[in-house]
Amino acid sequence: MNILVCISNVPDTTTKINFINNDSEFDTNGVQYIINPNDEFGLTRAIWFQQKKGAKVTVLTVGESSCEPIMRKCLAIGADKAIRIDAIPTDGFFVANQVSEICKKNNYDLIIAGRESIDYNGGMVPGILAGLLNYNFVTNCIQLEIDQNIAVASREIDGGKEILSSKLPIIIGAQKGLVEEKDLIIPNMRGIMQARQKPLDVIRPINIQAKSIIKSFEKPKPKGEVKLVPSDNVDELINLLHNEAKVI
């Protein structure tokens, strides 16, 4: 089984978000980058298939050379091979088209991408990729089993879950629940050393226009002071929620 996992290089979840150049650009100064958490859940499941079923795992990103440390990390976690498409990921449509080119040249049985990245939250890449390749697609995936050439995937729906099955190839939008938090792999020294020897191919992008452009950013307005209510006076809290905030 050949698995492709799409990786996005995103600011760490604790990052304070600031903008520069008249709020037109994200301020990367001092920002730590991580593997997009949704992608990491997907990668961890892919590594499980590698260890239990002998699957081959390729990781792919669209980004500049600054993404390479997290691609090395994916290799240290256990991926066999990495590909970086050397381009600035302008929007989900652009990225999905780049990934689709790679998919057309390789026979991946399973393609996993996070259901969304935690920076631009587009939630488009796995779905657009599925549309472009005309592959079956399950997003918000919280369980994935593969037997022979049949995938059984659970999708989180509003208020429950749905269990779906499909022939391979399939595209999965990964999210929390696909693997347990405790199963996430922290690379050990051996993995880190091996990662240095593993291939990380850099590929030129295809020429494609993005369909959306970010013109500017805005930060939420600063919040007013919290109104404290004494703990022995919950009547006051109910009064405030009813008469002032008008939410109950």
Partner: protein, 317 residues
């Protein structure tokens, strides 16, 4: 030309987010001087559409569409969009809409912007305001396709009545073959979901263990609220993953969010920040949540919450 709105329904009733996207579509139709057309599946109770501004309603009744299937649904919507010459398509932020939106975008060769929180800043070129960095910021994005899809954030625009003359059409569509099979669906009935809830009650590590969750559940019951939890709580297995709200969990955009014993890590606040009113109960006055909340109670959850439940019951009566 038209603005197309996908109005989702369940058990012959429109969902709240369907009426919200329609309200948004109506407001946009006035700005752009276009008609707003709704597309709905398997429903005959359509009064709500006229009440919330539909100029035209297209209903596809087909028993093969009883179960939601992303590819089939997006194909039907794309056919209607082409027929109605829709330039803008508006979807909600439900799990189903997020599933079908990118597929629809490919079919129509259109752009797609999810998490839109307001009417466009300009209509030509089309510039929308949306959240990014998981609610830590907004971006103004220019959508420059022939057809553009707007995914409206839950509870960002609200439901607005606007009685209108609606023309109704039933449409028969030749369905494509969907090669994904639904084996089973498990849905909790009789419980408000986080996505639909006006009020969400969330518990954190301060509750000390899953055995104390009746406090959260009882409070939620009095208020007709959904229950949620922080990341450590779901990681420790006290509560299911489906209740985890925050940056890597579910987003919350309720009218009222009450956090009990949640310290308020930056990732948690990011996920719930779209909620309109935030209340925190925590015994640690230094908890970061107090900086993000509108109302706060510094006190022991085990004392405050039972009192709150009792008083709220009295208040509700």
């Amino acid at each position: 030309m038209s603005i197309l709105v996908y109005t989702e329904s369940e058990n012959n009733n429109f969902k709240k987010n369907a009426l919200e996207v329609l309200s948004y579509g109506k407001a946009l139709s006035k700005i752009m001087n276009e008609k707003v057309v709704c597309v709905s599946f398997n429903i005959d109770n359509t009064e709500d559409l006229s009440l919330h501004g539909a100029d035209k309603s297209i209903i596809i009744n087909d028993t093969s569409l009883a179960d939601f299937k992303a590819k089939t649904y997006s194909n039907c919507i794309s056919k209607i969009a082409k027929k109605e010459k829709s330039k803008i398509i508006i979807l909600s932020s439900s799990a189903d809409c997020r599933y079908l939106a990118p597929l629809l975008a490919v079919e129509l060769d259109s752009s797609y912007s999810p998490n839109v929180v307001d009417l466009p800043k300009s209509s030509n070129p089309l510039v929308v305001k949306r959240t990014c960095f998981t609610n830590k910021a907004f971006s103004f994005s220019e959508l420059n396709s022939e057809i553009n899809i707007i995914g409206l954030s839950n509870n960002a625009f609200g439901v607005h009545e606007n009685q209108s003359e609606t023309t109704f059409e039933n449409e028969k569509i030749e369905l494509i073959e969907d090669t994904i099979k639904i084996n089973s669906t498990e849905k909790i009935t009789g419980k408000v979901t986080i996505a639909d809830a006006d009020i969400v009650i969330s518990g954190g590590r301060g509750l000390k263990g899953p055995e104390n969750w009746h406090l959260i559940e009882d409070l939620a019951e009095v208020l007709g609220a959904a229950t949620a939890c922080s990341k450590p709580v779901s990681d420790m297995g006290w509560r299911p993953h489906s209740e985890h709200v925050g940056q890597t969990g579910k987003p919350v955009a309720s009218n009222l969010y009450i956090a009990i014993g949640v310290s308020g890590a930056i990732q948690h606040i990011a996920g719930i920040n779209s909620s309109k009113v935030k209340v925190v109960v925590n015994n640690d006055p230094e908890a970061p949540f107090f900086k993000a909340a509108d109302y706060g109670v510094i006190g022991d959850a085990f004392e405050v919450v039972p009192k709150l439940i009792k008083k709220l019951k009295a208040f509700k009566n």
